[in-house]
Every structure is written in structure tokens, then in C-alpha cells.
Amino acid sequence: MEQPQEAAAEAESQRLARLRLIEERGVVAFVRVVDGAFAAGEPLRAMAQGTRFEAEEVGFFSPTMKAAETLGAGEVGYVITGLKDVSRLRVGDTLTSERNPAAEPLPGYKDVKPMVFAGLFPTDSDEYPALRDALERLKLNDAALFYEPETSQALGFGFRCGFLGLLHMEIVRERLEREFDLDLIVTAPNVAYRVLTKTGEEVEVHNPSEMPREIERVEEPYIKASIIVPKEHVGAVMELNTERRGRFDHMEYLSEERVLLVYELPLAEIVLDYYDQLKSRTRGYASFDYDVIGFREGKLERVDVLIAGEPVDALSLIVHRDGAYARGRLLVDRLREEIPRQFFDVAVQAAIGSRVIARETIKAKRKDVLAKCYGGDISRKRKLLEQQKKGNKRMKQVGSVEVPQEAFLAVLNLDGNNKK
């Protein structure tokens, strides 16, 4: 019924080169045999994951799948595992015989963990079940995709999704929109944080609104960025990286004209618009590649937004202390523009803990009347008011304040941020 699809993850391959899911036969592993031999019916184990299964069938590609009795050292072929869940096998893992196991897995396997997180919400809340089904399907052949249900005050029901990186996020989003015909709101991405609370508990935080308020230490993922750029743009790249809390590692002249710059940067600084900035500041010449190099402690703060004194989960941010005031100010200014005036004064605040770092007041409306209303225009006036009422219904209630969805999007939406 369904064409088998190849896994999107392209990690290093050892024995397990690829995974493929065929509906009626389960997960099919593409393998290269390094040592010994595999036979059909043999109990096997994936060494990193610990998954045990029996090889239902082994065989070669010639070029379609062709069953064989055994697969020997140096041969490339497939193993039908009978597993129904792709997440139980990972590309790059080492398969070994249960009867005569290898002592060590083959080197090079890395357990890929999502580093970049974003909320995915259907534009139309009725599409939530469709989004859930689509993610389930994608997950079948993309073991690296992580998702869990999320409820946002602002955007309703959706999912918090974890991605390996920015490209992965773009691909998932594109596939959801193209293959599943969904209309999505993608919130600004953030990274995973490792947090040590004051009570000594260690937690991983994927969503700023989950960030504990009492924090001992926060670590954030860092990357090593390799940027190749014509030499006249080196200054521009350095400036950008400095703005983004980058630490210069080294620089190499690849030729007389081209320079390789290596920087260490917090992943959080590149998830939003780094690539766009890099391209625009180098007239499109820069090329950029990165590897995650681990977690490092950072002076990070949780910035909360309060509308009329009510904290709005969906708008919380985790930012570096040095940028907290500027971001708080920006957020508050943006919200003041987007939230319509109400029947009462509305304070919009950005706060770190109980300390307010930016504040604006949306002044109460002083008049809102349809001046004239006589026999000739009662119908029109009625329709205007009905329209106004409908508009009100589309707004989200934050405490007693009506906030249009657009206000949240202006702050949250990836596209919205990119455009500005």
C-alpha cells in the first residue's frame, strides 16, 4: 500500500547503514558485515540500544531485495528484523549475534539527541488530530524526530518537537506541510538546556516555560562553527560572531582569497536568524557548517512576559543575561503594538523572576462609539457590532485581557521574526 521510505538521518554508518520500514515486515536494517556472518533465524542484538530481535530474513540487493541464507564478512545486504517501531534501532548502531557477541561495538556511533526544539501548532485547531497522525507517520521513518503534546495558552494544542538541527527542523516542517498538507505555526526555536536546580535536581528543559525559576546552574549546547568566506568579509563574520557570544578558535587561509574561520558559539545564538544574517552580511558568499560539541555553563536567564500581571507561558524566553534587557524591551514594545487597547489600562511587562526589566502600558480606550445611528443605518451598525464581536471571539483571553493571535505570532512565529 505504501511505498517504503528511507530514513532521513544521515549519520555515520557502520554495520547499520540505513533503516527502512516495510509495513507488513517491520523494520528492515541495511547492513555491512564487518566480522563473522549473519544467518536467517539468528537472535541478534543492537549493541547501543540493547534491542533484541530475531533476523527473520537476510539477503542482498540485486538490485531488489533477494533473500539469502547468510551474509558474510564484507558483504552488504539487509536484515528483516520484524520490529514494528523504528525508534528501537538507530542508524550507526552495531548488530551482533546473541550467541557469540562481539566484545565492543564498532566505533563511531553517536546517540543522536535532539538539540533544537520548537512548538508546532496547527493554524486551525481542528487540524490537531491530523497533525498528530502526520507526526506519527513521520516518526515511523525518522527515528530522530522527537515530539510530545504541548498546550500553549496562546496557540492551543500542538506538539513540542525536537530536531537534530536546523536543517532537520526545516525538513520536518516542509514534509508536514507538503506531504500532509498541514498549515502550521512554528514557534521560534530554542535549544535544550541542562539545568541544576537549587534543590540539586538535574533536569533537561526543552521549553522556556518549563525552566525552573530557582536555578543553581544552566548549561546550554555549544557548537563548533566552520565558516568559509572570501577574505574581504572576514571582518563582517567576526562582528556577527562576537554579537552572538562566539569565541574565536582559529582562522586558516584555504587559498589567497578564501578563509576558514572556526568559532565556538552557543547553539541558541544560531537557531533563529544566524544563517540569514551570515548570508546577508557576506553578500551570500559565506558557507557554514557546524557540529555540536557539548554543553557549557552560561549566564542564562528566564525572561517572563506578564500581561496585566498575568504571566504568559507561551512568551517566556531563555536568554543570555547580557541580552536580557534588550530582548525584554523588544518583546514588550512588540506586544504593545500588537495588543489592541482595552477598556482598562494594561501593563505589559518583561521580568526576570520578580524583577521587572521592561514595561509598557497600553492605555485604556477612552471612546468607542458609532457616533450616528438612525433609521437608515441600523442594519449596517448591527453588522459592524456583530463583526466586532466575532473579532473579539477570535482573541485569546489572558486573564481579563483580550490578545489577538497575531500578537503571539508576532513574537513567536519563526517567519514573523525572520521578516523583521
Binding site: 477598556f343 477612552r366 471612546k367 468607542d368 462609539v369 457616533a371 438612525y374 437608515g376 456583530e386
Partner: protein, 366 residues
Amino acid sequence: MTGARHLYVHLPFCASRCGYCDFVTVVGRSGQHAAYVEALLAELELERTALSPRLESVFLGGGTPTLTEPAALERLLHALPPADEVTVEANPETVTPELAALLRRAGVNRVSLGAQTFQARLLDVLDRRAQPEDVRRAVRILREAGFDNLSLDLIYGIPGQSPDDLEADLREALALEPEHLSCYELEAKPGTRFTHAHGEELARQADALETYFERVVATLTGAGFRWYETANFCRAEERDLRSRHNLAYWRGRDYLGLGIGAVSTIGGSRWRTTPRLGVYLAALAAGQRPPREIETLDAPVQRSERVLLGLRLDEPLSLAGLHGAVDAEALERLERLGLVERGDDELALTERGRYLGGGVTAELLA
């Protein structure tokens, strides 16, 4: 059905078109005044059964009713059924002793003068032909002719109108001692020539304009006027000086409208007569009803309208029969905010609620 007790007659002719105006008007065509009046009277005959034998009010609006050729106007006024209140709208520059005498003779007992503003440069912005002096002269002439119920229309929020200009307008209007004042905020509709010409200026003034409504109410109530409807004020005295005709609209009464573009609401049905003069004249010359757009008002719509119109008044709205029309949750919220007061099965807006009446009503509607 007992028939409508309120009659509106539309006289569309104007000497020129004012930039901000969105009424059905016809410029020039003085040769057609008599024909138009004949058509009105023919239409009246066709609709006579919809009218109650005893009318409470007749209102001649426009256009510029007083620009209508005097013989035609006189014929019309004499042919209309009598009523307790007969109002004619007049532009100040059209008021002469002859006109005033004609109106008196024909049973008109209330005149509504379109003063708009007393600043020459602001009259110019509005494309008005009258000069400030014309308003004063018109009031004098009408008083001398014996009119004891005059209303002035004022417009505020005119591009370039400062708070001082507004105070001056109100002062000048009060000095003329009218019985009634209608004060409208200028509506600059998007896409109109007027907004194109003045939109930027209005945007620049936006913050100041916010306060004009409050200033108007404060000044007029301070001078002893009753703020009896969102945009209408009358001298508080023993005589009830509220406009009976307009009260009928706000109380949801039936009314019959005659003339091009006129609207009628009778027995749960509302219709607008064609705004096209030629089509109107031709139909009635042939003894036919002119084409009309009909809208049926079902019970929920009628209830909504009762709420949105009733809340414009300074008297509490009785909720009898209207419960389905009001959003209970919104009502509670607005009450907490001090915008609405709930009485014994009735509802009223507080003073602040009245300044925000549009938005408050929108929320209240179920």
C-alpha cells in the same frame, strides 16, 4: 398591525456634495424637484396602509430639504399627514424669512440646522457652503418666525480642529440657545476622497481626538443639557425636548421611509428603496412601487437591535424578552469593569460605559 407611527421623507437635493457625506444625495437637477415631490406623494399613497392614522412624528431629511424648490416643498408638507412633531433639516445658508414662514404655515414645529462648526476654515475642510454668520442668522430668522424647538448639528474631530476650536464651537452653539444639539464625530471612511485628502492629518491628531467626545459631553452637560443619547443632547427643562422621531428608532419602533434610499422597518421587515432617482421616478410615474432591497429581521436579530439601540439612551434598557440577546458572561465582566449597571431586570451603561458604548455593546451581544 396598527401601522407605523413615524414617517421619514428623504429629500436628496443638494447644492453641492460635501466630502464627508455618505447620504443619498442629488446635486443640481432643480428641474426635477416638482416631479420628485409628486413621486413621494404617489409612494405615500401606495404605502398608506402601512401607516397608523395618527402619526407621532414626521422627519424631512436629506440631502438638503430646504433646498427643494419652495412650491414643491410647500405642496409636500401640506400633503403629508399631520403629526405631533414635524422636523425639517435645513442648511443654514438656505434659511430665509420666506422659508421660515413657509415651514411654519405648513405645520413644521422643529428645525434641525446643519451648523457643523463655527470656524470658517473647518467649514471649508468639510466643503460646507455656509459661513459661521449664516448659522447665527438662520437661528435668528427661525426664532423670529416663532420656532421654539431648534436643533443644531455639530461635527467634531474635523481635520485641523484643535481642542480650542472644539471648545469655541460648543461655546458658539450654546450662545445660540438651541433646544437640542446633535454632536457627531466625523467618520472618515477608508477609501473615500475625504480620507485620502485628510487621513494623514487625522492620524496625527488621533491622540487629541480621543478626548473630544468627553469634552463635548462635559461642556454640554455642564451647560444644563441632558445627554440623552450617545450623540444627542437636549435642554433639560419641563418640556421633553428629545427628538421624538429619533427616539422611535432607538426604541425599536416601526417607521416608514419615503424617497430614494429611504429605509423602512415595519413588522419584522426592513427595506431600502432604490437610491437611483431615475428608476424611482419612472416606477412611481407608472404607478408601481420602486424597487427595494428587503431584509427580514428574525426574532434574534430584532432582539439584538433592541439592545444595541436601547443602550444608546440614558434610560435603562428593560431586559424583558431580551434575555437571549445578552451574553451573560460578558455582562458580568463589563459589570466588574464598571461599564454596565444591572438593575431589576434592566440594564444601563455607566458614564464610562457610554463613552465606550460601541465596544461594550459589541461584547454584550450574544
